[in-house]
Amino acid sequence: MQIALVCSFVRAEERWIYEAFRRAGVTVDMVNDRSIVVDLDRLDGWRKYDAVVLRSLGYWRALHLARCFEALGLPVINPFSVVLTCGNKLLTTLTLIRAGIPVPHTRIAFSVDAALRGMDDMGYPVVLKPVVGSWGRLIARLNDRDAAEAVLEHRDTLGAFVHHIYYLQEHIPKPNRDIRVIVVGGQVVASIYRHSDHWITNTARGGRATRCPLTPELHDLCLRTAMAIGGGILAIDVFEDPERGLLVNEVNHSMEFRNAMEASGVDIPAYIVDFVQQVVRYGWEEAHMAPVSESRS
């Protein structure tokens, strides 16, 4: 078996995945996505690989790479459809709603005036997010109409076209933390709290990780979420609403997991490598039904 681990940089996560493949006796090539030139008439150079593990940092780049590799018939983890859905908050929310997954109340608007009407109707505070973005960037909690008018004017004037889609989400009064759950294939493998005194709890913004008990409710919610998205290697972010309980905020397709590993003690790269091998051997659907290996049971 030969795997291409396609990435933008080698961070701790990529190194750990690479080393886990090697420990498993799998031949793995680290391929930098900035060096790739794909001849669409001749994809032969990639045929030596049994699968691609895609860890590109950029959403746009990952989408195009996934599509190229899938055109060759290579399994891509995560596939184009999963990357597409996870990287766009509107697509994620629509997918989860259709699957009956509880999410924060959300509205979409396509002009400043419409966004203001939407926010006024939702009631403040309202959280404004870019439809494409990560690490808590450009997320604004708008506490009143004045703040909404100011931020929307800035987005409208200074932002690129992607910022002219206004994703409006209710503000959830969560208990200074959220929950991140790691799902690999059909298995929930780890769950952590991300604590922060700031309302944005991403660890990229300083959130601190601790182990989170994996309750049956949380397990069921995240497994259903992963299946609704299309499966794969996912990090699911969950809010605890004091009245409505667990709500899925977003799903990440190219997760960082150093904090989850440290807090949970789970060997996440080992699960990833095992899952990728199952995909190669049995196909995408079957890999999501494969049992946990004895070494981790």
Binding site: M30, N32, L57, G58, Y59, N252, E256
Partner: protein, 56 residues
């Protein structure tokens, strides 16, 4: 242990013997995020700035 030179502050930056091409490191002196852009000779460049669609 091998080492390279930080392009920002010129400090010596030690690396593990199995350092990988395009690996990210932090300069222990100035804190700059560095990318390994060549293994022989060991060369660093300042890591690119985060782009708007980067993330998880």
């Amino acid at each position: 242990m091998a080492s390279g030179v930080c392009p920002v502050c010129a400090a010596s930056v030690p690396v593990a013997s199995d350092v990988l091409l395009h690996e990210l490191l932090t300069c222990p002196e100035c804190g700059a995020e560095l990318e390994v852009t060549n293994l022989s000779p060991l060369t660093f460049e300042q890591a690119p700035q985060v782009e708007e669609d980067w993330g998880e």
